[in-house]
Amino acid sequence: MSALLSSPARRSRALGWGAIVLVVAYLGATLGVAHGSYYLQSLIPVAAVFAILALSLDLAAGMTGLYSLGHAGLFALGAYATTLMNAKFGWNVFVMLPVSIIGVGIVGIILGALSLRVSGLYFAIMTFIFTLVVVVLLSDFSFTGGLQGISGPILPDFPEALAFLGSSVVWCVGLAFLVTVVIVWSIRSSPLYAILLAIRDAEPFAAAAGVRTSLMKVGIFGLSAALAGLAGWAFSFLGFISPGQFSWTVSVNILVMVILGGMNTRLGPIIGAIFVTAFPTVISIDPLIQEVIFGAIFVLVIVFFPQGIVGILAGVVRRLRRRPLPATAEGTIEDARRPVADATLAVVEHGELSDDFALEARGVDFGYVRGTRVLRDVDMRVRRGSIHGLIGPNGSGKSTLVNLISGQLHPDSGTIAANGHRIERLGASQRAGRGVMRTFQTAVLVRELSARQNVGIGMYGTLHRVASRALLWPLFPSAHRDGRTLAARANSALSAVGLGSAWPGARVADVPHGVEQLIQLAAACVGEPSILILDEPLAGLSGGEVEQVSEILRGLKRDGVTVIVVEHQTRFIFEMCDEVTVLAAGELVKSGTAAEVRADERVREVYLGQ
């Protein structure tokens, strides 16, 4: 779907036509409703307002994984601020537009900051409480009209010259809807989309690629809140506002709209919003029976079509088109049969070892719980341009040390320096900025995206101003150019690890484990790290894939990249590495050249003897 996939001129021209058709359709529809009956004019704008809310929630929850039950509260703040400022202080309604958006956005930023402290479910609960508090406050004060509510502000009609356009309220809501759609769909088409999904599904991966995940989460939630504030502003012109219209059930309804319509899709939230809003008004049978049917539909759709209404439609279309699923390349079946023990490893020149240390860790102490020690006074020095192995029995603290170097953890005492700079106090994304990148033992990629998009995440650091341009991505010519560059570099990175031809476009969920590992490797390399840490890169790989990895290491060494490899497969380590560090029970046992370490008595006792 992304515009950045394969974009010959024909594709962008097709998109251009599509956009024009959509715009014309939109204008026609708005004009029609603006001249329509009063009934249409109340129903459609309400549906549009909830579509804005659903889209904003999909941005936060569907794309970034921040499930919020607070959007009704944010919605209420926008509506009440506009109404009260206009009614009690005489502020112009158009002045209230930026005030609502920015004000509610700031509240969203505060709430978003909370999400950094508590995980998914608890965050949802806190936002739920937020809505409850807002509604209680609105109900208990006569200043806000109390339980009864107050009349919304009146939007001025169009001046004479534009009177042909019809109802100004319809155009107002319609424009707010259009702006929301443009922003949310632009983000979907931009590289930011892949990054948000990564934050949702694979946060360590995103952080390791240099994405400042905390800032992103807060920022996206703030944007989502700002859109909810916009919805509130528009809603206040629809007649009457009272606390009952913003209760926690409304928050849940918005989430239901998103899930029912189809989470994380372009049209899903809009369809969901229309369905939930229109159902009670359009289906006029005995209201109690209608509500029972409504509830039953929730259950049935979700149970049988967990991907929502959009999922149903997509399934129907797929059956009509009979599109085959992507086939796997033949090469892998051959590789899978080759046992690991027979793999022929690439030849690496262990030449002169440089005196310049790319990474120096001194006196590192660490314990997960106060009082215990997982690492005790560990030193590790890695020469620039070398391949350095890190081995040790299970529980020796290898992974912990890797996490300390790459930034997932911070040492209790000791120092770590990369390229001469002290990094032990920096976060993971900041260390990525300093050229320290890593892969993870169990590949944590975004399963619903393609290999190419995942590798694109690795390039986050090299792209300028992705986030700010994402809001209007398709409108920036520079964006198209950057998108194409991104795609091209991702393709070549994947080719470099042996995944050419059909692989870049394949979904990660569909590829075998070994390929996933290679994709991860490509993603780490494409960011042009100076120090690359590979955490058990051979786990679960077949013989052919191990050979591939050894080729890659050889290539990296030639390019001057310093590589640290954590592995269990000792043959690989002793053949590929220049130097090796051995850990056991949290302490350094031996560090030296591969030959030295292999011959060492203590090492044999501690490790190879097992």
Binding site: G295, Y368, Q441
Partner: protein, 308 residues
Amino acid sequence: MLLQVLLSGLAIGSIYGLVAMGFAVVFYVTRVINFATGQLLMLSIMITAGLSRAGLPDGVSIVVGLAASAVVGVIIYFIAVRTVLRFDRFSFAWLVSTLGVAIVLQTGAALIWGPTSRGFPALLNRQTIRIGAAAITWQELTTIVVAAAAVIGFEVFRRRTLFGKVGMAISSDPEMAAAVGARVTGYAVAAFAIGGLLAGAAGVLVGPITYSNPYLGDTYGIAGFVALMIGGIEKPAAAMGGGLVLGVLSVAANTFINSQASDWFPFVVVVIVLLIAPHGLFASGNPFARWRSSAAARRASLGAEGRS
């Protein structure tokens, strides 16, 4: 006055706590929040009241009401939760499906029994005990006793039987648990049945003062949920603690601040609790130790290979 506040608070708090436990037991095993738990409370009230009106003795009506809540709880598992979890363990789709069930139950009850409040057997609510200047009805006393029994009973059940140990395993990794032989479905059914039973018990205990009304599910569902947040979602015993705290604080707020304070005061409490101890006051021990050890636990889970 303080004694009255304490007694009344514990009584209503026990109701909240039972509902909260209803949520928590289900969450404990399946990691799902059953949004229809409040409606299960309502169901036992409606059935008990309906049968009593039809002439059956109170005892029989109550037993049938409780059984109904437990059975419907299990039905909810099969219809709305199991299929959803099978598709994707991590999605929040159960939110939509259990909510749908809640709407169906509530509106269905309104269709069957009418939307207005009708009577409920007075049970033990007419007799009062006086302790000093305070008074407590026998019904309220029974409520507190039942709540205590529920907590103790559950803890014993959890420690002495395999349920507790297996329960945690199932909730964190059902495939793995099934692979080692745990009968996942069986445990989930038990969890939903117990959850329904607890909510049903709360219904029968609070019925005499609320009378029977199909919309009670919303009110008590929310209250139970807030209690759950205060006490802690991970352990059902903590949920009861949260309920008691909520009950006493609400009554105290009403008495000492002003009559509308019970609207907002509990939420202020919840917000403060969530900021200091996000996993609940009673999750384990003192909130501050909880905070530090939860930070450590986060680091530990990073160290565990693979998952972060």
